[in-house]
Symmetry: C2
Subunit: 367 residues, 2 copies
């Protein structure tokens, strides 16, 4: 078997390392996609997803990357010409803009500088001045800048809009399972995540929660879709514990095990652990004299973006970590390329692995 | 780990059983989706896919079920209002109709009775009388009826149309890797398959070959798409050995190994083996007095559809095979529900496993 070489310490902000229990589940024999075993698996996955999403609504399972789940939201909620607002704090906020534009929406873009979070008061004032909008698209945790938006405060602000409140559509691809996200309590209409970040499963599944209001909207929206269709997926999930199209069976088996591990740990304990690990890493990075891209109040507990110090290029820094220390971190994306490097600390990660990164950084910077 | 029980002899027409080498690859550690290791893996997968597809054009990799690949074809090739022809011989032929209609095409449907193949002369006459069409959609191997269309003859007939030749778009989800399909020699513009049938990999990857003509068409077509976009996928594949969005890394690792096994066996040897196994199974089924849904000349080497004999229901037959013998076969779909049952014999399958099915059928029918 022609196996690729292995990175010892995979510290990119996803895909993230897999617990051994998950890896074992991935190699289980295939089961039929219309079998009672699959239905039993799907029933358990659905129940566990609702707990992790903190929702009583359905969480749909699509076989795709997280971006597929984002496209599903756009295709199901919008008709051509709909006015929508994309609140952007980085590269993945811009993805909402491009997706909604691809589907013929009139997109207003409210962007905050890279490293800042979205200010709920500014967003509310914009909505009052420029609204109403069919939907507001936002990123919970912006992977490109290491910023976590204060989604709870933003959601609370939207409550003031009454009937003019837009559908609240959240990209939680790099937050869900690492950072508290109260889908129902905050009134999130659609929350999208991927299997490969804090959920500790390989990439290939998009998980999408759908509120009653979002489901009703999907019955009216006129953008074309078939594979992504919420209504059909909802019928199969609630009526048969199946998906309309053959799901990725091995990834479902892995996700089931990973969700069990997450719930065994406990959501509160898990968020606290991520906060503690992130805090440990940030203190260590600051002690090395490294600077953060993100303002202190909005720094993410899932990924840290650090400015590349003078005297070394981003490429050389990432390359040395990789080649000399077996540590894989990510560079900057888009306009941040060359300016920053990013270290993931979500999912299956230990303090020792972060200490390993800090030690390597110290050695490289001391040279 | 809460593992579902295992079916001993999985004989549905996909997902199909996994060779042990593939299962081991699925449990390999995750590698970064922008890493040199991923690029090396992707380079090898791309080369092997071209060999198995018998094409010199690119074969794009989408993280989705096979239906996602079909939707990619529709979204990339068509604009609203385009006239297209769907040639249907069963349930999956109807899927082309529904997909193209969902994307606003004017769909003409040329259907042949269940159990028959598409007659190339009839198709050509239709195209001459009713054309031109932007695209012709057809199923190579119709999983719902156990019929293989004579795609080579049909493609040859299309050659007579000159400039009015429609784009030829083929669903090869249950044929590619089991039944000869000469993508370039037959002038197929788009061929779609899934990882979970004759390619012996879990579900979750759609593989889509794109001819120069199809790529040019995708530059003009106005249907919305982002995740499925051919142009972006082509740039990432040829320019970087990557995919635009995080691919399902573990499934790519499995597919790489499976494609290696297929090419080691040899395409010609593999098609001959499938023909021999199918012939063995058909002879055994006929000896039991079972009747075929498909006319003899078009019976599939990937899946056999048998009529449910009198004296037993489809449900009881499928249930007994499953509960008493550990054999999982499929029932009929759509209008064929209750009328037939289907036995898959594609991919990683042995004559002994088919003999096991025949023995169980004999015992059940003798009672």
């Amino acid at each position: 078997m022609d196996q690729p070489s292995q990175t010892k310490n995979l510290r990119i902000p996803g895909p993230t390392p897999l617990p051994p229990e998950v890896r074992r589940a991935l190699a289980a024999p295939i089961i039929g996609h219309r079998s009672p075993e699959l239905q039993s698996l799907m029933s358990r996955v659905r129940r566990r997803l609702k707990q992790v999403f903190q929702t009583e609504h359905e969480v749909l399972v699509f076989t795709s990357s997280g971006t597929g789940g984002m496209e599903a939201a756009v295709a199901n909620l919008l008709s051509p010409g709909d006015r929508v607002l994309a609140v952007s704090v980085g590269v993945f906020g811009e993805r909402w803009v491009r997706l909604a534009e691809a589907y013929g929406a009139q997109v207003d873009r409210l962007a905050f500088p890279y490293g800042e979070g979205a200010d709920p008061e500014v967003v509310l004032a914009w909505l009052r001045g420029e609204g109403p909008y069919r939907a507001l698209f936002i990123t919970h945790n912006e992977t490109s800048t290491g910023v976590t938006n204060d989604l709870g405060a933003l959601a609370a602000a939207l409550g003031d809009l009454g009937d003019e409140r837009p559908l609240l559509v959240v990209d939680a691809i790099s937050s869900l399972g690492a950072i508290d996200l109260r889908t129902d309590a905050w009134g999130c209409d659609v929350v999208v995540t991927g299997s490969q970040k804090a959920l500790m499963t390989p990439p290939g599944l998009a998980l999408v929660s759908v509120s009653s209001r979002a489901l009703a909207a999907s019955g009216q929206a006129r953008n074309p879709r078939f594979y992504w269709d919420f209504q059909r997926a909802m019928e199969y999930a609630t009526g048969r514990n199946q998906t309309p199209f053959t799901p990725s069976v091995t990834l479902l088996q892995g996700l089931d095990v990973a969700l069990g591990l997450i719930l065994d740990e406990g959501l509160g304990e898990r968020f606290a652990r991520h906060e503690a690990l992130a805090s440990y890493f940030r203190q260590g990075a600051a002690a090395l004299g490294l600077e953060f891209l993100a303002r202190e109040a909005v720094r993410s507990n899932a990924v840290t973006a650090l400015k590349v110090p003078s005297g070394i290029t981003a490429e050389a820094l990432v390359g040395r970590l990789r080649d000399e220390y077996g540590i894989e971190v990510a560079g900057g994306q888009g306009p941040l390329k060359g300016q920053i490097f990013r270290v993931g600390h979500m999912g299956w990660v230990t303090q020792e692995e972060l200490a390993d990164v800090l030690r390597a950084l110290r050695e490289i910077l001391n040279r």
